[in-house]
Symmetry: C2
Subunit: 224 residues, 2 copies
């Protein structure tokens, strides 16, 4: 039984990888830079994204896809920034997959976009195995979650291209040990770039936005 | 393909339900009251459990099982309370199941225990479908995660017997809207009992401990 499950899972993941690769080629051909955000529930993905969309929309054409099991709260919040947002309701599924992204993009002209953000379902386990065709996968961890999340959920940190420590305005209130957190990150994924932000106070937001602009500018399709 | 996956999943869940039922009968026969904790990563399960074990161990024989993908940080923390603790490393699996509980109990004489705590993997999705044979399933949500988690992850709140709002000492710092949170809980699961605690300051801990004592005392096997 469990051998069969492993087999079925492997087949699904392979199918996802192929579709993700096709998506990546479509994104590159259209010249859109794709950033995905993963984290625990409540780590601040939507808050960071809302502030990011407001800032970036001034100079670039952006859109967002937002995954959630139920509700469209996050999409509603993000729409306040004025950019096109689509909600993906995953039902009982704990992650987005390439097929969901493909379906959600239906009718959007990708050549009219510079940057597409994808907010995954709040989960530190399931999204790790699913390539969405993104250029940059960002894993968020909030200071309120404790410092050892990278050690406890190593796979998701290993699939990320950038870590963002969020809610740093609360660091003192929760006795956040910054050195310890950075050590855990470095143990699990040596060399992973780390940014520290508070979307609420704006601290660190400039570095984050600069990093995005920098990365978006050097992405293969912008250069091509 | 996806029909086959649904079939395989249904078979696995059915197998889990049967084994969970056997566990529940064993727990009842041995007179042990079993409490499981589920929440997002970093919502404070281990902190609450550590304080709870210290308090309860004075008057009852307690033990704990702790699930995590990797590391035994939580087990180490809980062992400081002096009670027997076993770690269950789930690898890439995002939840505990009845088989893991059964295996982890090997060699423990359940008749020597009054209360067994099970700390699930930090996840608001996967643990929802897996009965562990527990008497009381407690779902934690911290004030730092935002108020709408019940609406976004309805299944896990629907399978819980008690909700505990944690880290209430941080409520003001994060502008936590208590009424809004209670409304979300009540919409998803009308009548679900809700407690509010801070394991750090001790606020609300007496109500939580009283609730446990009360429930443990009226459990079928203690009465029998």
């Amino acid at each position: 039984m469990s051998t069969r499950l492993v087999e079925v899972r492997r087949h699904l993941l392979k199918k996802n990888d192929l579709l993700a690769q096709q998506l990546r080629e479509r994104f590159h051909a259209a010249g859109v830079f794709v950033v995905s955000l993963v984290s625990s529930p409540g780590a601040g993905k939507t808050e960071l994204l809302e502030q990011t969309l407001r800032s970036i929309a001034v100079q670039a054409r952006v859109a967002a896809l937002v995954g959630d099991l139920a509700t469209d709260h996050d999409a509603e919040r993000l729409r306040r920034s004025g950019v096109p947002v689509r909600q993906i309701a995953t039902g009982t599924v704990c992650h987005l997959d390439a097929q969901m992204i493909d379906t959600a993009l239906d009718g959007w002209d990708l050549t009219e976009l510079d940057v597409l953000f994808i907010e995954n379902v709040g989960n530190l386990v399931c999204p790790a195995s699913y390539d969405l065709g993104e250029d940059l996968r960002v894993v968020l961890m909030s200071v309120t979650e404790g410092e050892d999340k990278p050690a406890k959920y190593p796979t998701i940190f290993n699939t990320a291209d950038l870590a963002v420590i969020t809610k740093i305005d609360l660091a003192a209130a929760v006795d956040f040990n910054r050195d310890r957190a950075l050590r855990y990150l470095d143990n699990v994924r040596p060399g992973l770039p780390v940014l520290e932000v508070s979307a609420r106070t704006g601290e660190g937001m400039t570095s984050w936005l600069e990093r995005l602009e920098q990365r978006a500018a050097v992405s293969p399709m912008s250069a091509g």
